[in-house]
């Protein structure tokens, strides 16, 4: 059996350098010059992006070729920086930061208002708390895990800002910059090879297409999740003496079980480098982890369970010495659910647990159910599956290559594997596979990077940067398809905002705000004062057939006596979403709009290029443009 060894903290490998000092100086400067050039080139391409011409492939359909040229140049300079004899941390860090801005900041720079309907909804929850100073768990699930919203409302008050919409467009850049710190700690916790660390980071940002890094509880709690894992993996490793004891234990067991005698030594191999820590430091760090866990539990439904699964697996497989943490996190989760989130759980327990253990149902909601819509959208969904498989395959090959070179990296393998059982837990609105992908991404990119820099001596030939470059190009092209593939429905225009603002201006409290589909920037103000319905996304029991989408049925819905008034809002983004996702046959929306405008039962009270507001005919006061 090959001796399993920890990754060595030493990375210096003596190589001959025949270049003159001038040539070496030029080689050191070249990545800087290329990075600056790539950044400038990328910036000057932005004004040429015409969002109005987007098709169902999303943002990539309107990106100029020069955008990709800029990314290729940046990738080239990154590979040069990575291959330098003395890796300059500031240089590779600068490349990663520029990459973050290029990939995650492009929407904020080319779109006039923050994208993504969910962003506006989260802003509305925050606004409610800021305005009323309380939470009402009966409104919706957000108010049962309100930690993020409470903190955000507080911060907005201190900053003197009226709404989080002011900066929501830049939150993805901010959060991804925030993820840098714990990711560096995580990747450094098991290797001293800085090339492996920075390539892992590079791959992380090229493959983090899930779009949960918007103004949301998940965006923040993902950062806290990374910090918890970073702390435990850096300062709470099982050290060699403990692992020796475990080896003795496994040898005793081995008298009874041959398999455990073979596996035991493998489990006992400690990760390196081992950062020294004193009992007082460890105590302080545990207190910090506990405080972070408390915020996690109060802010998000799913992330605490991801933390629980990850750290439990690390403890069980003897990779983490903080053995009380799984119990502590369990107690925190149980306490919150029993005393605070009980209102929501009491009404939704069956929907949360109906798919437990149901592999077929999980695959159906996470994969098959998404493979519908326009041909281009189906291509986008398939690309998401391909990108997922691609990075997991790179990780698999990286893991195999590492094993063949004597590196077990059990901690990362255990961490990644610990999240797989979530696939057969609650379906989470068909998003569980994406969440598993996101939570498992740090260990996955470690193994993917290890494919290229398996040992301190590998990856020194010209083939490695070429391979990294080719993989990176494939990944960033895929990134724009996977992350921004729904952009035609995710982005909003000022005209759409104007239409919705008009509806809020004229709507009475407790009115019904009705939309064609839920892809619009509403719910951002006075959230609790209105009732919201979308014709193509009605609650079960109220589902509408396509034949029901006519002025008479819609008018009947709006005449419901439980609402003092009703307002139908139709926007460009809703129409785009309905077509993109295949919710309605082609031409249905245009016919419906025409019928609505000519119906004697409804009156158009507001219209611009991208939005219309209808009321019942006996209420309206004429068109306002």
């Amino acid at each position: 059996m090959r001796q399993m060894v920890p990754r060595s903290p030493t990375t210096t490998v003596a190589i001959r350098n025949p270049l003159t000092s001038v040539a070496r100086w030029l080689m050191a400067l070249a990545p800087v010059a290329l990075m600056v050039y790539a950044t400038i080139l990328w910036f000057v391409t932005l004004p040429h992006i015409d969002l109005g011409r987007m098709d169902d492939l999303g943002l990539i359909s309107v990106l100029p070729l020069s955008t990709f040229v800029a990314l290729i140049i940046l990738t080239t300079s990154f590979c040069m920086a990575l291959g330098q004899r003395s890796l300059r941390t500031w240089l590779v860090l600068a490349h990663v930061v520029v990459l973050i801005f290029m990939l995650y900041g492009i929407a904020a720079l080319v779109e006039e208002v923050p994208r993504f309907a969910h962003t506006w909804h989260k802003v509305g929850v925050t606004e409610y708390i800021s305005r009323t100073g309380q939470v009402d768990p009966t409104i919706d699930h957000n108010f049962n895990w309100p930690g993020f919203y409470i903190m955000s409302a507080f911060m907005l008050e201190i900053a003197g800002l009226d709404s989080a919409i002011t900066f929501a467009g830049w939150v993805p850049v901010f959060l991804n910059l925030l993820y840098l710190g714990p990711l560096v700690m995580i990747l450094r916790s098991s290797t001293g090879d800085q090339r492996l660390v920075w390539l892992g980071l590079w791959f992380f940002y090229l493959t983090n297409w899930i779009s949960q890094d918007y103004f949301s509880p998940q965006g923040l709690t993902y950062f806290l999740y990374l910090v918890i894992l970073a702390v435990l993996m850096t300062w709470f490793k099982v050290t060699a003496p403990e692992s020796t004891n475990k080896r003795r234990s496994s040898e005793r067991l081995g008298r009874l079980n041959n398999l455990s005698r073979k596996i035991g030594p493998w489990l006992a191999v400690p990760d390196a480098p081992n950062v020294p820590s004193t009992p007082m430091r460890r105590a302080g760090l545990i207190i910090i982890v506990v405080l972070i866990s408390m915020v996690l539990v109060a802010s998000h439904q799913l992330t605490p369970f991801a933390v629980l699964a990850s750290i439990s697996a690390l403890v069980v497989f003897n990779r983490c010495s903080a053995r009380g943490m799984p119990v502590l996190v369990s107690v925190l989760v149980g306490t919150w659910m029993a005393f605070v989130a009980v209102t929501y759980l009491a009404g939704h327990l069956s929907t949360q647990t109906e798919n437990l253990g149901q592999v077929e149902a999980s695959v159906a909601s996470n994969v098959i159910g998404r493979l519908r819509g326009s041909p281009q959208h189906v291509l986008v969904v398939n690309m998401r599956l391909v990108m997922t498989l691609a990075i997991w395959l790179l990780a698999l090959f990286g893991g195999i290559r590492s094993l063949r070179n004597g590196y077990w990296d059990l901690t990362y393998a255990v961490w990644a594997a610990s999240l797989l059982p979530f696939l057969v837990s609650a379906h989470y609105g068909g998003e569980m596979l994406m969440r598993i992908y996101m939570f498992a991404l740090p260990p996955i990119v470690f193994f993917a990077a290890a494919l290229f820099f398996t040992t301190p001596r590998t990856g020194r030939s010209w083939r490695t940067p070429l391979a990294i470059g080719l993989v990176s190009v494939a990944l960033f092209v895929g990134f724009f398809v996977t992350r921004y593939g729904n952009e035609r429905m995710d982005y909003f225009t000022p005209d759409e905002i104007a239409a919705i603002d008009h509806a809020y201006t004229i709507a009475e409290e407790n009115s019904l705000l009705l939309s064609l589909a839920p892809y619009l920037p509403w719910k951002s103000q006075d959230y609790e004062k209105f009732r919201y319905r979308s014709l193509t996304d009605m609650p079960s029991g109220e589902h509408l057939e396509i034949s029901d989408l006519n002025p008479d049925t819609i008018a009947k819905l709006m005449q419901n006596k439980k609402y003092p008034a009703a307002y139908l809002i139709i926007t460009r983004s809703q129409k785009a979403g309905v077509e993109l996702l295949g919710k309605l046959p082609s031409g249905t929306v245009e016919r419906l709009e025409h019928d609505l405008e000519n119906s004697p039962k409804l009156e158009l009270v507001f219209a611009n290029d991208d939005g219309k507001v209808f009321v019942l005919a006996n209420r309206g006061a004429g068109i306002r443009r």
Partner: protein, 120 residues
């Protein structure tokens, strides 16, 4: 070896003062959000993390931001559920924590038993 220096206590003190002025004085200025977010994201955590003796900058900063966010959230959540929704009070609590931590750092800097503390 210690990670305590005089730099961060000074930054925390100045940031606390600046945040107090712009917030309690209800100053309307484009720099108010910058000052407020800087304080809320960095200072409460940075008042405490140096005591852990972690010398690596990125680890220190990461922990400081995470702890700052945690303290911001826990203070605001606690007071909201206690029926005391008052951002001014919440900020006062955080400024108190920050200044206390900064003061303790200054006090600890001059003490000979820093290493004894960390060696426990």
């Amino acid at each position: 070896m210690t990670a305590l220096t005089a730099t961060w206590p000074l930054i925390i003190a100045v940031s606390s003062l600046g945040t107090a002025i712009v917030t309690f004085g209800d100053v309307e200025s484009p720099v108010r959000p910058l000052i407020a977010f800087w304080f809320l994201l960095i200072c409460p955590g940075m008042a405490i993390v140096p005591f852990l003796g972690i010398r690596e900058g990125i680890s220190q900063l990461t922990l400081a931001i995470a702890l700052s966010l945690a303290l911001d959230a826990l203070v605001s959540i606690s007071l909201l559920y206690a029926g005391l929704w008052s951002p001014d009070i919440m900020l006062a609590v955080l400024i108190s924590v920050s200044l206390t931590g900064a003061a303790l750092q200054i006090l600890w800097l001059g003490r000979d038993h820093e290493q004894d503390w960390l060696a426990l």
